[in-house]
C-alpha cells in the first residue's frame, strides 16, 4: 500500500478539524444546544474514523504519514503519525468523543456552554497536536497551547475557588512549560529539528558524546518541564486543586489531556529524543526511576488520606501516571511496553472513574466517600462502571490495569532494578486500600438515607461511563487481539530497542 495524498493530509486534517469545531462553536448562542451537539459529535466521530483509517497503514505497512511546514528557518513544524502517535491519538480522539457526549449531558441547562465547548475543542486540538507532533518543537507548541486553553475550562464555574485553582494551575504549568521551552531551544541549537525517532533523535547521541554535561542538563530541563504536567512529586501540587473543574474537564485532564500530555512527552523524550540507550548511559534513568517510584508511593498515600472522591481520584492519578515513567525508566522491552500500554489503560480507567464521580455528584450530590454507602442500590449502573474502573486501577484481571501491572512487573524483573516490583506491589496494595472500601460500601451496605429509592441516571452521562468501563474489561481481556493497545505498545517498544541489545 502506498501513501496517498490523503494520508499526508490526515495529520493536518485531524488538527484543523478540532480547531474548526472551536471556531464554529464559539460564536453560537447559548440556546443552540442541538447545533452545538451536532457539530461536536460529527467532528469527533469523523476524527475517530480518520485515525482508525490509518491503522492498517501505520501498523500494517509501517508507513508514517507526515505533514510539515516551516516554523523558523531551519526548524519545521512536523505532524507525523507513527505508532506511538497513533496509539495516543486514537485514545484521545475516542475518549474525546465519549467525553463530549458526557459533557453535553453534564452541562445540560447550565450556562456558558458555547465557551465551554469552544475551549473544549481547542483542548482537543492541542491534544491531537501533541499526539501527532513529529518533533520536539511542534510538541512544545501544542503542549503550551494545551496549558492555555485548559485555563478557562478549569476556571469554568467562575467561583473564587475555581479561579484560584486555575491560577495555580497556570502558575505551575507555565513555569514547567518555560523550563521545557528552554530545554527544547537549547537542544535545538545543537541538533536542529529534534525529530522524534525510535531509539533517539539524530544528533543527540553526538551531543551526549560532545558534552555529556550539557546533554544531562538539557534532559533535566526537559523532564523537569514535563514533570509538572505529569504531576511527578514534588511538582504535582496543582493537580488535586484542579479538581474543582467541571467533571468532564477533570476526566479529560486526568485521562487524556494535561497529565497525559506530560507523560506522553516524557515517553517521547526518553524513547524518541534521547533514546533509552543514551539516556541510560548518561545515568539519567535511575534517578527518574526513583522519582517515579516516590511519586507512586506518595500519590497512593495521599489518596488514602482523602475523603473527597474526586480528590482521592486526583491523587490516584498522581500515583498511576508515574507507572508510565516507571515502565520507561526500567529500560527493558517489557517495561517500556508496560509503560506505553499503561498510558492508554490508565486513561480509560481514570476517565471511567471521573465520569462516575461526576454522575454521583450530579444526581445525588454525593462527593464524600463516607456518603457512598449503598449507592450501588440507587445508581447501580454508575456503580458498576465505577467498580470496574476501580478494580482496573487495583489491577485485578481481566481488567486493563492487570495487563499494565503484569507487564511492568515482568519489565522490572527483566531489568536490574528488581526492587521496583515491591513498589508495584505496595502501590497495588494501597490501591486496594483506597478503592476496595468504596466498592464495599457501595454494594454491601444499605443506603443510609431515608429516601433510598433508585435515582434516574442521566443517559448522556451514563453511557460514556459504561462504554469506557466496557473498554476497561475489553482491552484487558482482549489484550492479545490484533491492534489492541498491548500489541501496538509492543511494536513501539521493539522499535525503541531495535538497535539496542536488550539487557
Amino acid at each position: 500500500m502506498e501513501l496517498t495524498n490523503l494520508h499526508y493530509v490526515i495529520p493536518l486534517l485531524m488538527v484543523l478539524l478540532s480547531l474548526s469545531a472551536a471556531i464554529m462553536i464559539f460564536p453560537m448562542r447559548e440556546g443552540q444546544t442541538k447545533l452545538r451537539a451536532i457539530v461536536n459529535l460529527t467532528i469527533a466521530t469523523v476524527k475517530v474514523a480518520l485515525i482508525v483509517s490509518l491503522f492498517p497503514v501505520v501498523l500494517g505497512e509501517g508507513l508514517h504519514p507526515e505533514f510539515s511546514m516551516s516554523f523558523v528557518p531551519g526548524i519545521d513544524l512536523v505532524l507525523r503519525v507513527d505508532e506511538l502517535a497513533l496509539l495516543f491519538s486514537t485514545l484521545s480522539s475516542s475518549l474525546w468523543l465519549l467525553t463530549t457526549i458526557y459533557a453535553i449531558g453534564y452541562l445540560h441547562g447550565k450556562p456558558h456552554q458555547s465557551r465551554f465547548f469552544g475551549f473544549f475543542s481547542l483542548c482537543v486540538t492541542a491534544s491531537v497536536g501533541i499526539s501527532l507532533s513529529g518533533n520536539l518543537v511542534t510538541f512544545l507548541l501544542f503542549y503550551e497551547m494545551l496549558t492555555l486553553v485548559t485555563y478557562p475550562l478549569v476556571a469554568h464555574w467562575g467561583t473564587p475557588a475555581a479561579v484560584r485553582a486555575a491560577r495555580i494551575y497556570l502558575r505551575y504549568t507555565l513555569t514547567g512549560g518555560l523550563v521545557l521551552l528552554i530545554g527544547v531551544v537549547w537542544l535545538t541549537i545543537y541538533t536542529g529539528d529534534v525529530d522524534f525517532q525510535s531509539g533517539g533523535a539524530e544528533g543527540v547521541t553526538e551531543l551526549a558524546e560532545y558534552s555529556p554535561t550539557i546533554a544531562i542538563i538539557i534532559f533535566i530541563l526537559l523532564i523537569g518541564g514535563l514533570g509538572v504536567k505529569s504531576a511527578l512529586v514534588p511538582l504535582h501540587g496543582w493537580l488535586p486543586l484542579a479538581m474543582v473543574a467541571p467533571a468532564p474537564v477533570s476526566a479529560l485532564l486526568h485521562a487524556v489531556a494535561v497529565v497525559k500530555a506530560g507523560v506522553f512527552g516524557i515517553v517521547r523524550v526518553v524513547d524518541d529524543v534521547y533514546g533509552i540507550q543514551v539516556a541510560s548511559e548518561l545515568g539519567l534513568l535511575t534517578p527518574l526511576l526513583v522519582i517515579a517510584s516516590l511519586t507512586i508511593i506518595y500519590g497512593s498515600y495521599q489518596a488514602l488520606r482523602q475523603l473527597d472522591l474526586k480528590k482521592r481520584l486526583a491523587y490516584s492519578t498522581v500515583s498511576q501516571v508515574s507507572y508510565v515513567v516507571l515502565g520507561l525508566t526500567m529500560a527493558t522491552v517489557a517495561g517500556t511496553t508496560g509503560g506505553v500500554v499503561h498510558l492508554v489503560h490508565q486513561g480509560i480507567m481514570k476517565i471511567t472513574l471521573f465520569f462516575c464521580a461526576g454522575l454521583f455528584q450530579e444526581t445525588t450530590g454525593v462527593t464524600n466517600i463516607r456518603d457512598m454507602r449503598g449507592i450501588g442500590y440507587r445508581m447501580p449502573l454508575t456503580s458498576l462502571a465505577f467498580t470496574i474502573g476501580a478494580l482496573g486501577m487495583i489491577g485485578i484481571p481481566p481488567t486493563a490495569g492487570f495487563i499494565s501491572k503484569w507487564q511492568l512487573g515482568i519489565g522490572a524483573l527483566d531489568s536490574d532494578n528488581t526492587w521496583v516490583i515491591t513498589i508495584l506491589l505496595a502501590s497495588s496494595l494501597m490501591n486496594s486500600m483506597y478503592f476496595l472500601p468504596i466498592i464495599y460500601r457501595m454494594w454491601f451496605f444499605y443506603p443510609q438515607i431515608a429516601d433510598a429509592r433508585a435515582v434516574a441516571e442521566p443517559k448522556m452521562m451514563l453511557w460514556p461511563a459504561l462504554v469506557t468501563a466496557g473498554l476497561v474489561v475489553g482491552i484487558g481481556a482482549g489484550a492479545s487481539i490484533a491492534y489492541a493497545p498491548l500489541e501496538i505498545a509492543e511494536q513501539i517498544s521493539e522499535g525503541v530497542f531495535s538497535d539496542v541489545d536488550s539487557p
Partner: protein, 536 residues
C-alpha cells in the same frame, strides 16, 4: 517607476496629504476619509511586501538627486516589516476610532460642557502615521530625524487630546521627546562629520573603510542610543510613558504604545545593526580583519549597559504592572516591561562568541546567523507586541467607553457579558507573555536560540523570569474577568453608554487573532529581514 516604488512613496505621502485634508473636513467626512486612507495604506503596503519578497530592496530617489543630497526612500526587510505592522495596527485603530468617535478625545466646549469627540484626532493621527512611515522608509538619517520629529510632535498632540488631565503628561512627553531628538540630531551631526554622508548604507560603509572615525562614531552611538531610548521609554527613562499612555484617549493609547515608540526603536535598531554592527561587531568584521578592537569593546560596554537596563525594565515594569488596579496603567507598565526585551540583543550582536560556535559538527549556527537570528527574534517580539498591545489597549478602551471605568475589580465577570472582548484579552495576553502560537513566542524562540548559540546563557533565566512575570500581571488583569458572580450580587459597573458598535469589538479581536496567526510567520519574517541586511 514601478508599483512598488510608487507605493513606497505613497506610504508616506498619502497619510500626510490626508492629514492636511482632514484638518479642513467635517467630523463625519473625517472618519470616512480616515477609513478610506487606512485601507489605501494597507493597499500600498502589499506591493512593497511582495517586491521585498522577491529579495530586492525598493529604492526611490525622490527628485533624482541621489545620495547624499537627495531624498532617498529605501524599503528593506526591516522597514517593510515595521510598515506592515503599522498598516495592520493602524487600520484596526482607525476602524475603532471611526466607529467610536468618543474614543478620540475630550474637548471642553464654550459652555463649559466637555464634549467627547475631538476634531484634532484625525489629522494628528494621520500625521503621526506619515511620520512613522517616513522613519521606516527613509534611506538617510536626515529624513529619519524629520520623521521622528513629526511622530513626536503629533504624538504629543494626541496625548493632549485626553483633556485637562493629560496635559501635564503631554508636556512631559514633549520635553523628553525633544531632548531625545536633540541628542539624536547631535549624534547624526557627528556621524556626518566623520563619514560625510547622511545615507545610512554609505555611512556604514564609510565607518568600515575608515577606522579613524571610530572614536567619534562611538560618541555618536552613545548619544543616539540614549536619545532614542528616552523615546522608547527604556527604564529608567520611562517615567513619561505611563501617565501619557494611560491618560490618553482610548483610541490614542494603542497608537502610542503599539506604534509611536516603535518609530524610535526602529531607528535604534537601524543604527546599531545597520550602521555600527557592520563596522564594529567582531562577528561581522572578523573576515576583513580591520576591526578596531577598542571601539568594539567600548560599544560592547554600551551594549551591555542597555541590555542590563532592558533586564531591569523587564522586572521593574512587570512588578509595577502587577501592582496596578486599573487596566490602562497596567498595560502601560506592561509596555515599559516589554521594552526591555528589545534591548537584550545588543550584547549578542556585539559578542557572539562561544565555544560551541567553533564546533560546526555540533551546533547549527554561525556568527552571522546568530546576529540574523537575534534580530529576527527581536523584530518578532516587537511586531508581536505591536499587534497584541494595540488590541489590548483597544479592549481596555472599549470597556472604558462602555462603563466609564477600566478598574479591574469593576470588570469582574465580564467573560459573561462580553466574551469576545475577554477572548481578545486572552489572545493578547498570550501574545504579550510570548506563549505559543503567538508571534512573540516565535520571536522569543529565535532570540533565545540565537543568544544561546552565541554563548549567552544568561538569556535563559531572563526569559523565564520575564515570561512568568508578564504572565502573572496579565493573569491578574484577566483572572477576575473569568469570575462568575451571581447575577444579583454582581457589583456590575453602570453603563456609561448603552452600547458599543460591533466594529469596536471586531477591530481589537481581529488584531488579537492576528497576534496568533502571525506566530507561523517566523520563516517569512526571517527571510524578509535578510533583504538588504549588511550580513547577508
Amino acid at each position: 517607476m514601478t508599483l512598488a516604488e510608487f507605493s513606497t512613496g505613497a506610504l508616506v505621502l498619502t497619510p500626510l496629504l490626508s492629514a492636511a485634508v482632514m484638518a479642513l473636513c467635517t467630523h463625519v467626512l473625517r472618519r470616512l476619509l480616515g477609513v478610506v486612507v487606512a485601507v489605501l495604506i494597507v493597499g500600498f503596503t502589499v506591493p512593497v511586501v511582495i517586491h521585498l519578497g522577491s529579495g530586492e530592496v525598493v529604492e526611490v530617489d525622490l527628485g533624482a538627486y541621489g545620495a547624499p543630497l537627495g531624498i532617498v526612500l529605501r524599503a528593506d526587510g526591516l522597514s517593510v516589516l515595521f510598515i506592515a505592522m503599522t498598516s495592520l495596527v493602524g487600520l484596526g485603530i482607525t476602524a475603532f476610532a471611526a466607529a467610536t468617535p468618543e474614543a478620540t478625545g475630550e474637548r471642553i466646549q464654550a459652555n463649559g460642557q466637555s464634549k467627547t469627540e475631538h476634531a484634532g484626532f484625525w489629522p494628528l493621527w494621520f500625521g503621526c502615521w506619515a511620520g512613522l512611515n517616513a522613519v521606516f522608509v527613509s534611506g538617510d538619517l536626515f529624513n529619519t530625524y524629520v520623521g521622528l520629529e513629526l511622530v513626536g510632535l503629533t504624538a504629543v498632540g494626541l496625548v493632549a487630546l485626553g483633556g485637562q488631565k493629560s496635559w501635564p503628561a503631554a508636556l512631559r512627553y514633549l520635553f523628553i521627546a525633544v531632548l531625545g531628538s536633540l541628542l539624536f540630531l547631535v549624534a547624526v551631526g557627528l556621524l556626518v562629520s566623520v563619514t560625510g554622508t547622511l545615507d545610512i548604507n554609505q555611512a556604514a560603509q564609510q565607518l568600515t573603510d575608515n577606522p579613524e572615525a571610530a572614536g567619534v562614531a562611538t560618541v555618536a552611538m552613545v548619544l543616539l542610543s540614549i536619545g532614542l531610548a528616552m523615546k522608547v521609554a527604556l527604564v529608567p527613562m520611562h517615567q513619561w510613558l505611563v501617565p501619557a499612555h494611560s491618560g490618553a484617549p482610548s483610541a490614542v493609547s494603542p497608537i502610542l504604545s503599539a506604534l509611536v515608540i516603535k518609530g524610535a526603536l526602529f531607528v535604534f535598531l537601524r543604527s546599531w545593526l545597520y550602521v555600527a554592527a557592520p563596522a564594529y561587531s567582531p562577528a561581522l568584521t572578523e573576515t576583513s580583519g580591520e576591526a578596531p578592537l577598542n571601539v568594539a569593546e567600548a560599544l560592547s560596554i554600551v551594549a551591555w549597559v542597555f541590555a542590563l537596563l532592558g533586564l531591569i525594565a523587564l522586572i521593574v515594569g512587570a512588578i509595577m504592572a502587577l501592582r496596578q488596579t486599573r487596566l490602562k496603567p497596567l498595560i502601560a507598565y506592561s509596555t515599559v516591561a516589554q521594552a526591555g526585551y528589545w534591548f537584550l540583543l545588543l550584547p549578542v550582536v556585539f559578542m557572539p562568541t562561544s565555544a560551541s560556535l567553533g564546533d560546526p559538527g555540533v551546533t547549527t549556527f554561525d556568527a552571522s546567523e546568530v546576529i540574523a537570528g537575534a534580530l529576527a527574534g527581536t523584530v518578532g517580539l516587537i511586531l508581536g507586541h505591536g499587534l497584541a498591545k494595540s488590541a489590548l489597549f483597544l479592549t481596555a478602551g472599549y470597556f472604558k467607553e462602555l462603563y466609564g471605568t477600566e478598574k479591574i475589580a469593576a470588570l469582574s465577570g465580564e467573560a459573561r457579558s462580553h466574551p469576545m472582548m475577554v477572548m481578545t484579552m486572552g489572545l493578547t495576553a498570550i501574545g504579550l507573555a510570548g506563549l505559543p502560537f503567538s508571534l512573540s513566542f516565535t520571536g522569543k524562540w529565535q532570540l533565545t536560540s540565537a543568544s544561546l548559540a552565541g554563548g549567552h546563557y544568561w538569556i535563559l533565566p531572563v526569559i523565564i523570569v520575564a515570561t512568568l512575570l508578564s504572565a502573572a500581571y496579565l493573569l491578574r488583569a484577566f483572572g477576575p474577568l473569568m469570575m462568575d458572580n451571581d447575577q444579583e450580587n454582581a457589583a456590575h459597573p453602570e453603563l456609561h453608554r448603552n452600547s458599543m458598535p460591533v466594529v469596536a469589538q471586531v477591530a481589537p479581536f481581529t488584531l488579537g487573532v492576528l497576534t496568533l496567526l502571525t506566530g507561523f510567520m517566523g520563516t517569512p519574517i526571517f527571510d524578509l529581514l535578510e533583504v538588504g541586511a549588511p550580513w547577508s
